[in-house]
C-alpha cells in the first residue's frame, strides 16, 4: 500500500543543509517532508572535521558565513543542545614568509566582515603557543571562530525539525524525482510518494544526479578528506588549527582527543569512504611536525566521508536554472559544516519569498550552464582550485 504525502516543501538529504532548512521552514509554518537515505547527519555533515570557521573562506562566502556565525551563537535555542560548540579561536599557521604575506593580504581584503583577524609574529606565536613546532613563522588568529561536534550537531538539526512538525523519513531512498506540471513528485520504491510545491536538493555529494534530472547538470566530483583521532591527551591545544596552503588541520576536544585531518581517502563504494595508508602516514608526519606534543600519542581511529567538489570549490546554492520551485544546496567542498545553519536559513528565505538578503549570486548553478568556450589549440585554462 503506497503511502502518499503532500507538503509545501520536500527536501532530499538529511544532512545539516536539509535539516536546518527543514527547521527554519517549520518555524515559518510551512509543511515539510525530509527524506534521508540513511540516518540524518550520517554522512559528511556528521563525520567532518568539526571546524566552525569563517577565516580562510573566499570573500564571496563571507556574508553567508557571517550569517551562520550568528546562528551558531544561538545553537542551543535552535537544536536544544550545545553540540560541544566552542569559540576556541581558529589559528592559521604560516610556514613561510610568502604564506604570512598571504595571510596579511587576506586580513586586509576581508576587514569589513567582522572577523577581527590578528596577525601573530613568530615571537608572539612562541609565547602564546609554546606547543607549536618550529615550522611556524607566523599566524593569523580569528578569535571567535571555533569548533563543534558534527556527530551531535547535524542529527540534532533533524531532530529539532521533527519536533517542530517536519515529517522526517530516514532509511528512505528516493528512486524517482520529477515534476508533473503541478508539483514535484518523489517516489521511494513502492512504499512512499511525496508531492510538494518546492523541492530542495540537499543531497550532498550525490546531489549532482538530482540536479541533472532537472536540467541543471554540474561537473561535480567526489572527494574524501581523511580524518584521524588520538586517544585522550592532556589538553594543550587551545585553538583550532589550520595552515595556509591547506593540507592539515587539528583541534583538541575538551575530553582531550586530538582530531586531525588532511589528505585524501578513497571510496569503498559510492556511499562509503575510508582513510588510506599513504594519507594517514603523511598526516601523522605533518601533524607531529606541527604539534611535537603528539610524538608520544597514538591514532586510535581513522575515517573519511564523501564530499562534493565543483571545479571552483564553491557550492551551488540557489534556484534551479531550469525548473521553477527547485532550489539547490550542495557541493560545499568540505567546508559546509559552519555554513550549514545559514544555508538552511537562505533556503527557507528562497522558498518563502523567492529572495534572500544574503548574497549568493556567486553560487548560482547557472555558472555551469554558460555556453561552452570555443575550442582553441592553446593551453586549457585550469580549474580554480
Amino acid at each position: 500500500m503506497m503511502e502518499r504525502l503532500s507538503a509545501d516543501v520536500a527536501i532530499i538529504g538529511g544532512g545539516i543543509m536539509g535539516s536546518s532548512a527543514a527547521l527554519f521552514l517549520r518555524r515559518m509554518g510551512l509543511s515539510v517532508v525530509l527524506l534521508e537515505r540513511d540516518l540524518c547527519g550520517s554522512r559528511s555533515s556528521g563525520v567532518n572535521f568539526g571546524g566552525v570557521r569563517r577565516q580562510g573562506r573566499p570573500a564571496s562566502q563571507l556574508p553567508l558565513s557571517q550569517r551562520a556565525q550568528g546562528l551558531w551563537a544561538q545553537l542551543p535555542q535552535l537544536i536544544g543542545i550545545d553540540g560541544e560548540y566552542l569559540r576556541s579561536g581558529h589559528l592559521k599557521i604560516a610556514r613561510s614568509e610568502a604564506d604570512l604575506a598571504a595571510l596579511e593580504s587576506y586580513r586586509e581584503r576581508t576587514q569589513d566582515f567582522g572577523m577581527d583577524l590578528q596577525i601573530l609574529s613568530a615571537r608572539a606565536l612562541r609565547e602564546r603557543c609554546p606547543w607549536l613546532g618550529r615550522a611556524a613563522v607566523g599566524a593569523s588568529l580569528c578569535p571567535d571562530d571555533g569548533q563543534a561536534n558534527p556527530r551531535l550537531v547535524s542529527p540534532a538539526f533533524a531532530l529539532a525539525a521533527r519536533r517542530l512538525g517536519a515529517d522526517v523519513r530516514e532509511q528512505t531512498r528516493i528512486d524517482e524525482a520529477a515534476h508533473d506540471g503541478t508539483a514535484f513528485v518523489l517516489r521511494s520504491g513502492n512504499a512512499l510518494e511525496v508531492r510538494a510545491t518546492h523541492l530542495l536538493n540537499c543531497a550532498g555529494a550525490w546531489a549532482g544526479t538530482i540536479a541533472a534530472q532537472f536540467g541543471d547538470a554540474v561537473p561535480m566530483e567526489s572527494g574524501h578528506p581523511e580524518m584521524a583521532v588520538t586517544e585522550p591527551l592532556p589538553v594543550f591545544l587551545n585553538f583550532s588549527l589550520g595552515v595556509e596552503g591547506g593540507g592539515v588541520y587539528a583541534r583538541q576536544v575538551a575530553r582531550g582527543n586530538c582530531v586531525i585531518g588532511g589528505g585524501r581517502g578513497y571510496a569503498l563504494d559510492d556511499q562509503r569512504a575510508r582513510a588510506q595508508r599513504s594519507g594517514i602516514a603523511a598526516l601523522m608526519q605533518q601533524t607531529v611536525d606541527l604539534l611535537p606534543a603528539l610524538r608520544n600519542a597514538h591514532i586510535i581511529r581513522t575515517w573519511s566521508g564523501t564530499e562534493g567538489y565543483l571545479p571552483d570549490r564553491q557550492p551551488v546554492l540557489g534556484p534551479s536554472a531550469n525548473t521553477p520551485g527547485l532550489i539547490h544546496a550542495f557541493g560545499f567542498a568540505g567546508g559546509g559544516f559552519q555554513l550549514g545553519p545559514a544555508v538552511g536559513a537562505v533556503l527557507a528565505d528562497l522558498v518563502q519569498s523567492g529572495r534572500t538578503a544574503t548574497p549568493i549570486e556567486a553560487f548560482s548553478v547557472s555558472r555551469f550552464s554558460e555556453s561552452p568556450r570555443v575550442a582553441t589549440t592553446g593551453p586549457v585554462p585550469s580549474a580554480v582550485v
Binding site: 586517544e231 575510508r274 610524538r295 608520544n296 600519542a297 597514538h298 591514532i299 581511529r301
Partner: protein
C-alpha cells in the same frame, strides 16, 4: 592452471599454525604474522624464555595438544617467514598494513588466511573497572604466561566452560579460589548433557573439574546473578544473588567472562560480508564449510570468525589451507578435506549444547543498573545509552556510538561492543540482531605517532 601463490596467515594460534603446516606440506612458504612474541595463540600461549614449568603444569589435560601444536610450528620454522610481534592494523589494495617493533610497513599478499582468534565476551557488573577485576582469559595469562595469580583470594565468575577450567587451574597452582559463581544453573547443564555428550572427552573434563573443585572445598554456586564488585583502590568483595538472597564474599581479585567473542576487525576491513549468527549472538564474517569468505582469496579459520574451540580451530586451519591450495589450482587430498569438514560440522551440535549448558544471560541488559559503566575506555554508562535512545530515538549501534561515544575509546568497542548492543536492543525493544554492528575502522589497534618519526632522529 595454478595461480600465483603468495599466502599470508594472520595469527599463530591453533588455526594459524595448522594452516601454515598444511601449506608447507604442499611446498608453499607462507608468511605467518603473529602479534605475540611466540606462536601458540592464547590457549597454548608459551611463557617467555627462562620459565621452567612443564607443559603438563601449564596446560593440564591439554598438554599433549599444546606440545603437538608447538612442535608443529617449530618443525616448519625454517620453511615459513615467521613475523612475531607484528600487528596487522589495516589492509588496503592487496597489502596488509603492519606495525612491528615501532615501525610501520606493508606486506603484499596473494591469498590470506585470517586466524585472528577471540577474546573474552564481557557483560559487566558494577565495579568491574576496579583494579583486581580481570577477564577469565587474563587470569589464565597471568598464571600460564607469568606464573602469577591475579590475587590471593580469587572469585571466578560468569559462565562458560572456561569458568571451571580457570578455577581448577588456579586451585591446582596453589591460589585460593574463594568462590565460583556460575550464572548458569545445574538444570541448564543437565538439559544440555545429551548434546554435550557428542564430545565425550570434553564433557568428561568439565565434569571432572567440577568434581575436583567440590572435593577440594572450593565453593561453587550455580544459577546466580552477579550484583557488584566493591572496593576502593582495588576490589575487596563480590556481591551476588541466588534466588531472593544476596550474598557477599570477600576477595582481592575477580576473574569473569561469558564465553568468547571473535576478533573480526581484519575480516571487516577486508570487506568480508557479515551476517548475524543467533547462536553466537553476534554478527560474524560469513564462511563456507572450507573457510572461504565472501572475498576471493580471503579465508577465515578458527575462533576469529565464530567460536569453535581449539580442536576445531586446528581442523579449520588445515581445511582453509587446503581450500587456498585447491583454489590456486594445486592438488590436495579431497578425502582429507571432506573429513575435516565433517569433523567441523559435528562440532556444531556440541556448540549448541555448550550454549545450552552455559546460556548467555538473556536478562542481563534488563537488570543492568543505569550507573553501570558499559564502555570502560570512555566511561559511558548504561543510563547514558538509555537516555540517548529516549532523547533521540537512536536504534543503531553506529548512531549510538556517534551520539554517546560508546565504543570510541582506545579499544574501539572490543570490550564493550557486546554489552552496548544488549543495552541498545533492550532499550528500544528490538531483537539483538536488529541494532546493527559497529563499523570497522582502521587502525585495528592504536598506531603510535612515533612510528612515523623522521629518519633525522626526531623519535620519541
Amino acid at each position: 592452471m595454478t595461480a600465483a601463490l603468495q599466502p599470508v596467515i594472520v595469527g599463530a594460534g591453533p588455526a594459524g599454525v595448522r594452516a601454515a603446516q598444511t601449506l608447507v606440506a604442499h611446498g608453499v612458504r607462507p608468511v605467518v604474522i603473529d602479534e605475540a612474541p611466540r606462536w601458540g595463540g592464547q590457549i597454548y600461549r608459551q611463557p617467555p624464555p627462562g620459565f621452567t614449568r612443564s607443559k603438563r603444569t601449564l596446560y593440564g589435560f591439554e598438554a599433549g595438544r599444546a606440545e603437538a601444536l608447538h612442535s608443529a610450528m617449530t618443525n616448519i620454522l625454517d620453511r615459513v617467514d615467521y613475523r612475531p610481534e607484528t600487528l596487522v592494523w589495516s589492509a588496503e589494495g592487496g597489502r596488509l598494513d603492519v606495525l612491528s617493533h615501532g615501525r610501520m610497513g606493508t606486506l603484499p599478499y596473494g591469498q590470506l588466511i585470517v586466524a585472528t582468534g577471540a577474546t573474552d565476551r564481557v557483560l559487566p557488573f558494577p565495579g568491574w573497572t576496579l583494579p583486581g577485576v580481570y577477564t577469565l582469559g587474563a587470569a589464565q595469562v597471568a598464571l600460564k604466561y607469568q606464573g602469577c595469580a591475579i590475587g590471593a583470594r580469587v572469585v571466578i565468575a560468569g559462565t562458560g566452560p572456561l569458568l571451571y577450567l580457570v578455577a581448577y587451574q588456579y586451585a591446582k597452582a596453589g591460589a585460593r579460589v574463594v568462590a565460583v559463581l556460575d550464572t548458569a544453573s545445574f538444570k541448564d547443564k543437565a538439559l544440555a548433557a545429551p548434546a554435550m555428550l557428542r564430545q565425550p572427552a570434553v564433557f568428561a573434563k568439565g565434569v571432572y573439574y567440577l568434581g575436583w573443585l567440590r572435593a577440594h572445598g572450593v565453593p561453587v554456586h550455580q544459577g546466580v546473578r552477579l550484583v557488584r564488585a566493591t572496593g576502593g583502590a582495588q576490589v575487596t568483595a563480590m556481591r551476588w544473588r541466588a534466588g531472593a538472597a544476596e550474598h557477599e564474599v570477600a576477595c582481592d581479585a575477580v576473574a569473569f567472562g561469558y564465553a568468547l567473542r571473535s576478533e573480526t576487525q581484519l575480516a571487516d576491513l577486508l570487506g568480508c560480508r557479515f551476517s548475524y549468527n543467533a547462536l553466537q549472538r553476534a554478527a560474524l564474517p560469513e564462511r563456507d564449510g572450507a573457510g572461504r569468505s565472501s572475498v576471493p582469496g580471503v579465508y577465515l579459520a578458527g575462533d576469529g570468525a565464530g567460536i569453535m574451540g581449539a580442536d576445531a580451530a586446528e581442523w579449520a586451519g588445515e581445511r582453509a589451507a587446503l581450500a587456498l591450495l585447491a583454489d590456486a589450482g594445486k592438488a590436495v587430498d579431497a578425502a582429507r578435506a571432506a573429513e575435516l569438514e565433517a569433523k567441523l560440522a559435528r562440532t556444531a551440535a556440541f556448540r549448541v549444547g555448550l550454549e545450552r549448558a552455559f546460556p548467555f544471560p538473556q536478562d542481563w541488559a534488563a537488570s543492568a543498573p543505569d550507573e553501570l559503566v558499559i564502555c570502560r575506555c570512555e566511561e559511558i554508562t548504561a543510563g547514558q545509552l538509555r537516555q540517548c535512545v529516549q532523547d533521540t530515538g537512536a536504534r543503531e549501534m553506529n548512531r549510538l556510538k556517534a551520539l554517546t561515544r560508546v565504543g570510541m575509546g582506545r579499544c574501539q568497542g572490543r570490550t564493550c561492543g557486546v554489552a552496548a548492543a544488549e543495552i541498545l536492543a533492550h532499550a528500544c525493544a528490538a531483537a539483538p540482531d536488529a541494532v546493527g554492528r559497529l563499523r570497522g575502522q582502521a587502525p585495528i589497534k592504536p598506531l603510535p605517532f612515533a612510528a612515523m618519526a623522521r629518519a633525522n632522529g626526531e623519535a620519541a
